[in-house]
C-alpha cells in the first residue's frame, strides 16, 4: 500500500480486517467497551446491574431513534444537524450501556442482540422517549425534559460503585449538558416568541408532561442497587429548578397534567409501553430481523 492510499486508508483498513462484518444492520464491527475491564464489582449483583444498564441504554436507544426520524424533516438545516448530532451522542451512550448489560449478566449478548432481537415487552425504557413528536415545539419540550432528567441522573451516576457505569456517565454528562442547553434555548425562543410559537410550545409541553412523573418513580431494580444506581426521587429538585428557570425565561407556566397511568402499577421500566413503541421497533429492527446475521 502506498501513501497515495492515505486519504482512504482508514476506511480500507476497516474493510480489510473487520472480523465481524455486520455492517448490514448493526455496529458489530467494534465493541464499544473493547479493552475496558468489565468485571462486576464485589458486592454488586450482576443481573441487577445488567437490568439497570438496560434501562438506561434503552432510554438512549429509543430516543435516539425518535430523533433520527426528524432527519430530513427538521425546519432548518442547522436544526437537522443538531438533532442528528444529539441522536448520535445518545446512540453512543446506548451502545456502551447495552454492551455493559450484556457483560454484567454473563449472557454474552452484544449490543446488536439487545437492540435488534428483543421484543417490545423486553424493552425497559421510560415511555417519554417512545412517543413521536407532533411538531418541532413538542420535540423541543420533550428534549428539554429528557435531557434535563438524564443529565441529573447520569450526573449522580458519575459516583456509581460500578466503575464502568461511572465512566460512561462522566462522558455522557458533557454531552447531555450541551443537549439540554440547546433544547432550553429553543423553548425560550418559542415561548418568548410569537403568539403562534407560544401556543405551540405550550401545547408541546402539555403533551409530554403526563410522562414526567414516571421519570422520578423508582423501580425495584434501582432500589436494589444502592450506591450503584441513582435514586431518581432525589433528582426531582434539580429538574424542577432547571425547568422553572427555563419556563420563566420563556414566559410559560408549568403545565398541569395528570400522569399517564400504568397498568397494575407497571410502566415503561416494567416493559409496559404505549402503542407507539411497537411501530418504532418494527422500523428499527426490520432489516436485522429480515436478514439475521447478514454481512456485506
Amino acid at each position: 500500500m502506498t501513501d497515495d492510499d492515505d486519504e482512504y486508508g482508514a476506511y480500507q483498513a476497516l474493510a480489510e480486517e473487520a472480523e465481524d462484518h455486520r455492517w448490514a444492520f448493526g455496529t458489530g464491527f467494534t465493541d464499544p467497551l473493547a479493552g475496558v475491564d468489565t468485571t462486576v464489582p464485589a458486592g454488586v449483583d450482576g443481573a441487577l446491574l445488567a437490568a439497570y444498564c438496560l434501562m438506561l441504554g434503552d432510554d438512549a436507544l429509543i430516543y435516539s431513534h425518535r430523533l433520527q426520524q426528524w432527519v430530513t424533516r427538521a425546519p432548518e438545516l442547522e436544526e437537522e444537524t443538531a438533532l442528528a448530532n444529539i441522536a448520535l451522542d445518545l446512540l453512543g451512550q446506548a451502545r456502551m450501556l447495552l454492551a455493559r448489560a450484556g457483560r454484567a449478566d454473563g449472557s454474552g449478548r452484544d449490543e446488536d442482540d439487545l437492540a435488534f432481537l428483543r421484543d417490545e415487552g423486553e424493552f425497559r425504557n421510560v415511555r417519554l422517549v417512545e412517543r413521536p413528536d407532533a411538531d418541532f415545539a413538542e420535540l423541543a419540550g420533550r428534549l428539554l425534559v429528557f435531557s434535563t432528567w438524564r443529565l441529573a441522573l447520569l450526573g449522580a451516576l458519575t459516583a456509581s460503585r460500578d466503575p464502568v457505569l461511572a465512566a460512561i456517565a462522566a462522558k455522557s454528562v458533557k454531552e447531555l449538558a450541551y443537549h439540554r442547553d440547546y433544547a432550553a434555548r429553543w423553548v425560550v425562543r418559542l415561548g418568548d416568541g410569537t403568539d403562534v410559537s407560544h401556543a405551540k410550545i405550550t401545547a408541546g409541553l402539555a403533551a409530554v408532561w403526563p410522562l414526567v412523573d414516571e421519570l422520578f418513580t423508582p423501580h425495584p431494580i434501582e432500589l436494589g442497587l444502592p450506591g450503584t444506581a441513582a435514586d431518581v426521587r432525589a433528582l426531582r429538585g434539580e429538574f424542577d429548578t432547571v425547568l422553572d428557570t427555563v419556563l420563566a425565561a420563556a414566559t410559560l407556566d408549568r403545565p398541569q397534567a395528570v400522569p399517564l397511568a400504568g397498568l397494575g402499577g407497571r410502566t415503561g421500566r416494567d416493559g409496559l409501553h404505549t402503542e407507539d413503541l411497537g411501530y418504532l421497533l418494527a422500523e428499527m429492527q426490520s432489516v436485522a430481523r429480515a436478514l439475521p446475521g447478514s454481512t456485506w
Partner: protein, 168 residues
Amino acid sequence: MSPPPVPAAGIAAAVPDPELPMVTVADLGILRQVREDGGHVTVTITPTYSGCPALAEISADLSRRLRQAGYHDVTVRTELSPPWTSDWITAEGRRKLAAAGIAPPRPAGRLPASGPVPLRLTAGPRPVPCPRCGSARTRETSAFSATACKSLHRCEECHEPFEYVKEI
C-alpha cells in the same frame, strides 16, 4: 528477529484522524498510551464523544499502520475514564487546526465536581476569533456541525463561515 526500526509510539502518534486528517490522533489527545512488551504492542485510545463514529476507523488504522511498520501483534483498547476533554488537544494540534481554517477550542470550563451542571441559556459571551482573519466580530450560526466535536460560525469581518472545535 530484530525489532522494527521505528518505535511503535512514533508510528501510532503519526496516524491521522479520519475526520480531521490535518491533525493526528496524538494531536487530538485521542491516543492515550502505546506500550511495547516484547513483540506485543498495546495501544490505548479514548473516544471524543460517546457516538464518535471515527473510533472504529482510528482503531483499524492504528493496527494497519503498525503492522506495515513490522508490528504484527497489536491490541487496540478503549479507555473511557477520565473522559476526553478538548484541553488535551496539543499546541501543535491547535496550530494545524487553525491553519486549516478550523478554530481551535478555548479552555474547557470545569464541570462542578458535585451538584448540578449550570444551565446556559445564551451562547458564550466571548465570540470565537475567526481563524482566517483573526477578527473577533464573529457569531455562532449553529451549535452543532458536520462532526460531533464542532460548531458552526461566521465571521462578520471577512464573511467566511468556519467551524470551531467545541470546548468540552
